[in-house]
Symmetry: C2
Subunit: 340 residues, 2 copies
């Protein structure tokens, strides 16, 4: 090709070439007995049980190639699954990855996705131990994460009891605000260097959307401290606490003052983003925004909260989610993948 560099595509490499190219990027993890290259992986499950969760990410619906780098898409795809493992109180051990893509996808793009998956897995103490590749008209990632409970019971959505304290850890609202900045054209996929988002505050929100940082170790710590229920906040605080309330047969009461003042909410940055976008209520991002992968959990009232957890409310008899005493049980803020 005269005048331009030839881009090597995954069709050029072929299925087995692509597998070899990405496998070379993957360090073996501590829990990995058999990795990529056989009919299946073999992973340590010292507890005698294995925690397992799976998620699909579809281009144009869960990510955009022009808004996120492949490295960030890989990190994020891993993060949301690893966070689900942590929300059971388990330590992530391994990731399995299905990658479907059009044949004209540059190999470098696929490599960077896998690098992102490997980096985020490493952050959580896990490794990419298996996978599959396929052709498809759009890029799609199917991620399965496994984890070990280390002898503790899993922390379910059904264990909250009236009288328990509600606490959160991680970050809330930043990802949704970052997405709004991208959608509003106030930032670009390169990190907002050109636009308004060049301000550190706003760039931080965009980064939170592109690279969520779930509090992986906080899940097992909450479990060890006696958490009665726990959930990964991925569809929005209200919606996910609605699942927890329904699963436990209780009412959840959030105190917005505690939430807004907590270290888990970047109030200054969210206020600045709301002002830049003309959005009236910045707290809405905190209440209905997902994808930061914060954790929410309930603890017996007399339990000392583990480090990094902040109380934001309480559990009572009844049903639904209430903010400052007002029912907010509807899920209208949440995301429905068939109604985009």
């Amino acid at each position: 090709m005269e005048g331009r560099e030839a881009v090597v595509t995954i069709a050029d490499l072929g299925e087995f070439g692509l597998i070899a190219a990405v496998t070379a990027l993957l360090p073996a993890g501590d829990a990995q007995i058999v990795g990529i290259g056989d009919d299946a992986a073999v992973i340590r499950a010292p507890d005698g049980r294995v925690v397992a969760t799976t998620d699909l990410l579809v281009e144009g619906r869960h990510f955009r190639r022009d808004w996120s780098s492949p490295l960030d898409i890989g990190r994020k795809a891993a993060a949301q699954n690893l966070a689900d493992v942590a929300a059971m109180g388990a330590r992530p051990t391994a990731l399995l990855v299905g990658l479907a893509a059009p044949g004209d996808l540059p190999v470098d793009w696929a490599r960077d996705v896998v690098r992102g998956l490997a980096e985020e897995s490493g952050q959580a103490g896990a490794s990419v131990a298996g996978g599959d590749v396929s052709g498809a008209d759009v890029v799609m990632l199917a991620i399965t994460a496994l984890g070990d409970l280390a002898g503790r019971d899993p922390v379910l959505r059904s264990g909250a009891r009236p009288g328990d304290r509600l606490a959160v850890t991680g970050t809330l609202g930043s990802s949704a605000a970052g997405l709004a900045l991208l959608a509003g054209g106030l930032a670009d996929g390169a990190g907002g260097a050109g636009g308004l988002a060049a301000s550190a505050d706003l760039a931080g929100l965009v980064a939170a959307h592109q690279r969520p940082r779930p509090p992986y170790t906080a899940g097992p710590q909450a479990s060890a401290a006696g958490a009665t229920s726990m959930i990964d906040i991925s569809d929005g605080l209200l919606q996910d606490l609605g699942h927890l309330a329904a699963g436990s047969g209780v009412a959840i009461d959030i105190q917005s003052g505690l939430l807004a003042a907590s270290a888990h909410v970047r109030a200054g940055a969210l206020r600045a983003a709301a002002a830049a976008l003309g959005v009236p209520d910045w707290l809405a991002w905190v209440l209905v925004g997902g994808e930061d992968h914060a954790l929410a959990a309930t603890f017996p009232r007399d339990t000392a909260l583990p480090s990094g957890w902040t109380p934001i409310g309480a559990v009572s008899a009844g049903s639904g989610v209430h903010v400052d005493g007002q029912a907010r049980g509807d899920q209208s803020g949440g995301w429905d993948h068939f109604r985009p």
Copy 2:
């Protein structure tokens, strides 16, 4: 809608409605401690290790909605993953399912796919324990299967030694011939009732393509009998034995006479299909056709083969796959998902 029945789509149900509708179809399995409805599933792994494998199936590439019923698509998607678990010598315990689909997909279609997944899992002793749903422009299934080794070492692709016997179990070539009948217009998705495939022989081949029946229990049995290596035949016997030869650093010698005469090859039906399609060499389906999910394994020469396994050749020093002494090491017959 006047004059026609309204079809309920998955967009009508929404994400949570769809999850509820399909979850109702899923019996809990013996190995399932926590199933669908929490952040993750929890599955028994009594061995202290877990076998895990994942596959993507994309509409138009791995299946066609006009050639296979949703029940068969579900069964087949489960079968190919459960067979990978069996090929490690493990007993399948659980399946995780990602389903991506357009919003206008009829709910009944999604339900039947999940029914197929559940039925096939049940055949293998496993259950559908978790999943995810997403929107997408085409139907896509991302399946992860887990399994337990029951205290035995996993049977890898790397353990074949010169002097070992090569044996197979399950069915070989029928799925590829059935696909050729469908592609050649000699059968239809309803089982070939209208065309040539109405003959019992040919209909059996079409059925083998639509509903492979992997020999799940043969994997653990081969492991217990001392198999030195094992592989699921999914890309074709030559190609998959090529992986085994390369993984073990040995040569694999197939005796075509033993293969063609074995109970694993429906020679009469394959001959009839070849005649109907004008294909010169029916044995090619056996050698390069995949998707029946037969198992191939190697055993020490002095080991009695478990019931259902038939010797078809031997392992020797060297490299590559040979048929009746002739090198057939190339993978040209195999399937590359980026070069369709």
